[in-house]
Symmetry: C2
Subunit: 201 residues, 2 copies
């Protein structure tokens, strides 16, 4: 089975999920397709206010993120720029997938998550992204040009629209066939669902 | 320690939490104070849209409620009136607490939750609430008059304001000292927190 994993580099709970999703899938004979989204475009479509815009809620979310990271042994060190919308890392991932293959694209995504949430590095900075790409053997100049390609921007935007059409209204979100799982705290139910699906097969 | 348990009879996840909170507290030598709130008043204050007003999200929430109920062995049978704002059960609980004591008030709250979520009975109907109260030995006429008392309405409203001032922006919500836990899916972290607090004491 295929797990469609929808995430935004701007979302801390997406970071948490990104660290578990591949192993969880492999444990149950599944593969993961990583889909970078822009949460603020989803929330604009649905009318939901992003959490950082609701101070009483955001104060709680920050506390919950740190408490959850501690409980689960996840490194968490945020940079001053957090929270902020992030477009470049998602576009970069799509460009890398098209030009350097899935493995490089995934390594890039994981390194971005680790840099932004584990090492307090601001991945809104294109120079930082170029450094990550260069570490994977990708040419810096071609990479920077790739991010700005209209076709890549359009593909990133279309990814959001396709996700919405499938019922994805937040991140992280995992869709397995038609079964939807929203939030890092639903990975346990996702795992139970995969176990039941294998038994039934 | 005291667990302040904030809930709304209109919230399915509050129902789930209501079934676990007392046992969880007792297991760790704590007591629970039950605070009925009106979620729609909280969301009006914070600007957050209630989930039923966001169709793509509400569709998911309904599915998640049923999946979670199944996974946790919680009876769930919804009436046609669900979802709807509910004022009368919360006001009734406050009136019962003032006039018949904590034990009757809690028995009433639990019976309301069971009726609305387990047995598909519409607890917006005052006659239904009168029946529940009568089953606990409370006079039906005095009960119906009690719900309509301006002082009870004011107390219910004030409960919402006090909760907001403490950082409560959704339900179910548990506050232990200054540590906040939002959502049925945070009861596990609440339990871990209580275990750590006892060890530290």
């Amino acid at each position: 089975m295929v797990l469609d994993f929808y995430f935004d580099f701007a979302s801390g709970y997406s970071y948490f999920a990104s660290r578990r999703i591949d192993r969880l899938a492999a444990d149950h004979g599944c593969v993961v397709r990583w889909h970078p989204l822009m949460l603020t475009a989803l929330t604009t479509s649905t009318g939901v206010l992003p959490s950082p815009m609701v101070p009483i809620k955001w104060q709680y979310v920050l506390r919950d993120m740190h408490r959850t990271a501690l409980a689960e042994g996840i490194p968490l060190r945020l940079c001053k720029a957090f929270p902020q919308p992030l477009l470049a890392p998602g576009r970069a991932m799509l460009w890398l997938r098209a030009h350097h293959g899935e493995e490089i694209a995934l390594a890039f995504a994981r390194t971005c998550f680790q840099a932004y949430y584990g090492d307090a590095v601001d991945i809104a900075d294109v120079a930082v992204l170029q450094g990550i790409a260069a570490g994977l053997g990708v040419d810096r100049v071609a990479f920077a040009a790739g991010l700005a390609e209209p076709a890549i921007k359009a593909q990133f935007k279309q990814g959001n629209e396709l996700a919405l059409a499938r019922g994805v209204f937040g991140v992280p979100f995992v869709m397995v066939e038609d079964e939807p799982f929203w939030g890092y705290d639903r990975l346990g139910q996702l795992e139970q669902w995969l176990i039941s699906a294998r038994r039934a097969a």
